[in-house]
Assembly symmetry: C2
Homo-oligomer: 124 residues x 2
DNA sequence: CTTGACCTTCACATGGGTGTGATAGTTGGA
DNA sequence: TCCAACTATCACACCCATGTGAAGGTCAAG
């Protein structure tokens, strides 16, 4: 598919899709036109990129971990890079921290909302 | 405590503490010097701010939800603002999404790391 | 053949979070 | 008293993700 269709499917503007390419996160083929041609599986990848960006992870890190997030995990391990492993563990641990933190705040918000509702039901 | 001590305790540079004040997230008292004086409870608050920023939440939103994240939740509900409730629900739902997303990627990283380790144990 | 909806590249701007440095006032100890 | 370590404000600059617009190529439908 071309850039416009991918933009619609992922709700990511073409400008950003080109930017992700510039950052090495997606590498679409080119038609004879020069038009970018995206394979279907890139829809998922772009959504993943957006999620990671929204979670505050910079493109540099995304580019590093993205190859390791594929559903086809069994295929990929052929380069026993110890630095890579350390980096992955570090990023995973950061995610774990973020998750715990967000859970705390989710619960706090829930408690507050419930308190509001109770107050409204009682005092109203 | 003064700004330097708070900076050490929270691992947030003074520059940023001043910035958070400018954004209305913390409001330290002032000594006769003009020096900022921070109460102890602000240590927790600053850590919370950092966590939210790291999770990709902008200061504007942080300022809006921060008063609702306190451990003393029971005290605060006196203004039955329906817009506030909607905003809180929206932010909480975003957090829930982020959590689910991060959990997925945490698991994917874990699987990949495990696969690396298995490959290293076998092929080595 | 022209029009309109796409696409290309390039460039400049903006906003938010952060770093850094200049200049100056305060404070406490050698 | 003077120095070192704070603090203050202000300003400029940076990075990164994003918006926007110009100038132009491609293509399908009328």
């Amino acid at each position: 598919m071309r850039i416009g269709e991918l933009a619609r499917k992922t709700d990511v503007p073409p400008r950003m899709l080109r930017y992700y390419e510039e950052q090495g996160l997606v590498t679409p083929r080119r038609l004879d036109n020069g038009y970018r041609e995206y394979d279907e599986y890139l829809v998922d990848r772009v959504r993943k990129i957006r999620g990671l960006l929204d979670a505050g992870i910079p493109t540099r890190i995304i580019g590093a971990i993205l190859p390791c997030l594929g559903q086809t995990s069994a295929i990929v391990v052929d380069d026993p890079d110890p630095g890579l492993r350390a980096m992955l563990v570090e990023q995973r641990d950061k995610m774990i921290e973020r998750i715990a933190f967000l859970e705390q705040n989710r619960d706090a918000l829930t408690r507050y909302i419930d308190a509001m509702d109770r107050a409204a039901a009682t005092g109203d």
